[in-house]
Symmetry: D3
Subunit: 244 residues, 6 copies
């Protein structure tokens, strides 16, 4: 039995408010329990210089945390004048994950920037970001269709994508770790899975003792089942009405 | 008649959700029409080095805007590696405004950092920040009383404080400008007023033609009346229950 | 009676040496008592990228202080690798103030950068900078006429502009505060006024207790009268011969 | 058959020159085919501030590439004034990997910094870095024993660690990818394995199409076998004489 | 005959205004023709951390140029966020030169920072800076004697120091090059000489063709004679009254 | 007799491995005793913006030290976020030295960047860098001839160039100082000489007491003779076969 009463293979309560922003082409406020991330998708014409004239688009992401998203305040990276390694790493992970379900040719010479700003953090902020960013991206693609930026029959989205964290605590593999579990995990793994159930990213790290192959297998099983549920929630959200 | 149907001396709909954050000692999500600012107050023991041993506390503020708070995306200051002049200026203004209603001696050797992060921007973000930051600060002071950080009878808050923007558009002085009015204003003024009705800051700028003394007087009248209403909303909010 | 023997409505001795620099298109060394600021105006063809092809010019300003302008040495901002909030704020104020008396269309696609470097600081450096920068700007416009950059009948200057600080000390409103008065002021206000007597900027700040409407009125009266004198000195300086 | 004539489960020629540096407490120049990385271990007394007084040591790593390690020159990160996301990510990976085989309590309040500088890059620089850094670390621990910094019976090393890249090219899983294969890989995985054969890190990324569970399994098999060979080479190197 | 009518071994008109600053412990505005440098000496108790407890003082220097010191405006290093190579190089040269005539033991645990800010540049700014910084330093030492920071009989100054530029133009060695000559020089040399006539620094650079030993000898002769004159002017300045 | 048994006018053992890098157009690993510097020459088409359309090429250099090149580890300049004064100064010296033997017109609109990375430091790293960079540059010019980037008869190299350090220790002038001698030297001089025996740079610094003209003369004699030997070794290296 876990501290919050969940079964080992149970997700926290998941809420996705699509269209939270009135300004962005796509947006979603996603909540995994106490973790709240505001994801916006900014779609603009044109591509970065290094891609010009290649007839392909670009999708990239930036992750950040508000200074008081956590239980003690962290200094702002803008004030420190540089971005930390963790921020860099997560931004790159989100970007790669979303690009795995986009056909950049079909996107045309357009760029989508996915901003994932953590308003409140309680574990799993990177996996919540990926899951929410997909909803924002899907909204932006709809916007592009509605506004003639993309032709009606062209759909750059090739699949959906979601992510979840799994870990081993006191020898037991568990799904979707909140902060109190995350800090105690012997092994911590983030898994990104498409709607079809294939892997986009598998990032497993032994925090304490190295892990065995059979433990790795159990974690992958849990993650695949968690992502199947998230994928279903994404689908339902996108079928619902926009706005808070 | 204004574009959104308001009278010239009418505020936009104001919403303050106190206790929005489960992590911070004090917090408020404040909305002035489409402008939404998340204000958190982080209260910690100790003071910056230059204040040590003087028996006084410190209150400071940091303002920032999410990249897609606005109609087109702006680059993050953390990515640019430096804070812009506008951000600096507003952070300093918020800090000064809140310090004007705090007795730093009574605060003891404690520090409060007020973070004002603009989630969505539609004009008046700095004045919404000051108004919301006061609620977050008041919550943090209550927290300090409830947790024994401050003695029951010691109240460092000497008054409340709120702020509003005013401006002259096509020769007409108006209260609480949204973005569409702000860009057209000939004169733009931000006024910070205490609950007792005295001035903390008056910052008037001629954007186009210089302004006359009588115009300045009309703007001050509008601002004082707007702040009186905001002051009332702050009071009601603080009497209500915490949480979203 | 003030420490330096002045009446409450009296300016410090003001000296403006126009044409101090042999290199710049316009320049002035301005002194307000012990405050000495070297102002240069650099006029070049072309405008920043965001203004290109709009048929308008640009005027901007940069303010800085030499490390030993003050009674104790401050670290250089170039060594710290970033510009502080105060520097940013003052640079922006000077730029806005000077733009208020320039017709950017009449300036054509030319840019003027006003550099205000404080060689010695004794209070009122930002207001001295604005007052001196106007003289440097006027010289640069003359240079542009003499060198065929502007046509003889085109005068982009629509008015003159000057600035002064005022403040309340021990309850008494006073004009043009040196450092010893500035640190003691309860309220501190910088006012920028055109040669015609209209307002460009009014920036009043309660350093200690909030201020009342009648106090604000007295401060504005003092400032308007101080700027009228400064405006007269600017005019006489520009009628005199260049050079130190 | 691969471009360089290797079998799919064959490593490139591996050379480790231990004791390459006369200055560092431990060092190794490691070569995986055309990839050459200079790894040094700097062991100093004391720990970072946040660890003081806890009776534990610290091991960290910094990775960098010389500007002309690659086929076209890259700008130096020191000249750009900031470290890129890729550098951050790899430095953190190396640090975590080496910490997984160190008992920080047994290390005492000492710090080891592992510098991995890529002199020439031909794919697999991060896995070569981890493999070489282990040799440098082992040398530094020997140095600590020889110089009385660690007591004879205290061995902070709990195991050895090595790493290798694997990937899927044209549907075929392959071991130890040089640059020409790396850019063509559909899936790219870096695996860090202890001398005992357990996992420290598994980082798999779909570069093009998402990958299936059976493909993941094949890649893990290849990696485990490759690391077993690397582990053997590390052992032989550490039994040989120091120096180039 | 040179463009300004001087003989090849003649200095430009040299003016040193000592005590230019009312704030600094020592200061001098030095002019070599059109080159004007404001040198201040800031003497404070204490030494940098790496010197603490060694019973010795420290002397260092910072050189900078105002943006419009030159014929076209340069961007500020504070705005660029970093100090250029030339600035670094000259600051280090000035610091070394002044330390060569200071007995750091006799200075006690005090630090002198010499700031050399070029207000107008017309060649030879680094040599003018060294020559002026010596006067500022000597004033600061006098100040230390007058204010009891140094004991009356302790004189940390072991000699005076001055510097001059020399160069070969159209095959002719010349003394003290203004900008128009400097850009045409085939060889450019900066020489720092003590009051006793010994060398502190010799920095010769072939700008175009390499130079021969006999040319080097002629340049050294010119520099030694120029510095003897500067040394005499320094002495006379320090015997005159302070202030502008 | 010196600590390493050399005569005062004797170089340390010099080794130059040309073609060390398989990636660069030219390269050399140069060793002066324990000092080891990897020099690469990157030749690319095109020139920096400020040179465009002038029909001339450009040669520049960047010097850096690995963090553990020295006996204690130094922080990376990339991590500190800025380049130190010493690095800047040496990079500029190397660039100037190499440009002195290149006819930039003959180079055409091509750029050569010389990277000198110190792998191990034992005194004289800047002079070793210049000597090694010449070999890398000569290789790159050969590469340009072999690859049709330069026409067969066009030789931009006008001479060779090498450099050596000299210094006075206990009153005795000595050639090629290792670290233990360098820190004890009263005067330290770096001299850059062409293959024809003329001077490119002479940089002499009094570390302790100022030096006399006759001492300067002895140092120059030693340096000229040392460079003649280095010039001979460069010639023999370039006649040998490439590669390690």
């Amino acid at each position: 039995m876990r501290a919050d009463g969940r079964a080992v293979d149970e997700l926290r309560p998941i809420t996705i408010t699509r269209g939270w922003s009135e300004q962005a082409e796509g947006s979603a406020l996603i909540e995994f329990g106490g973790t709240r991330v505001l994801c916006t998708a900014s779609l603009t014409e044109g591509v970065p210089r290094w891609l010009k004239g290649e007839g392909r688009g670009w999708v990239t992401a930036e992750y950040a945390m508000l200074p008081r998203a956590t239980s003690t305040r962290s200094a702002r990276e803008s004030v420190k004048g540089k971005i930390g390694g963790r921020t860099h790493e997560i931004s790159r992970l989100i970007g790669r994950s979303l690009r795995s379900v986009i056909d950049l040719k079909a996107l045309g010479e357009n760029t989508v920037v996915l901003d994932c700003d953590v308003l409140q953090a309680d574990g799993g902020t990177r996996t919540a970001s990926i899951t929410g960013a997909y909803v924002a991206l899907a909204e932006a693609i709809s916007w592009a269709h509605e506004n003639g930026v993309l032709k009606p029959r062209v759909n750059p989205l090739t699949d959906s994508v979601s992510a979840v964290s799994v870990g081993i605590i006191d020898g037991v593999p568990m799904l979707d770790l909140p902060y109190v579990e995350d800090v105690r995990a012997e092994t911590d793994m983030n898994v990104v899975v498409t709607g079809s159930g294939d892997f986009v990213e598998v990032q497993g790290t032994a925090e304490g003792v190295p892990f065995r192959r059979d433990e790795l297998d159990s974690l992958l099983d849990l993650a695949v089942s968690g992502c199947a549920q998230l994928s279903q929630i994404q689908r339902e959200t996108l079928e619902s009405t926009r706005g808070r």
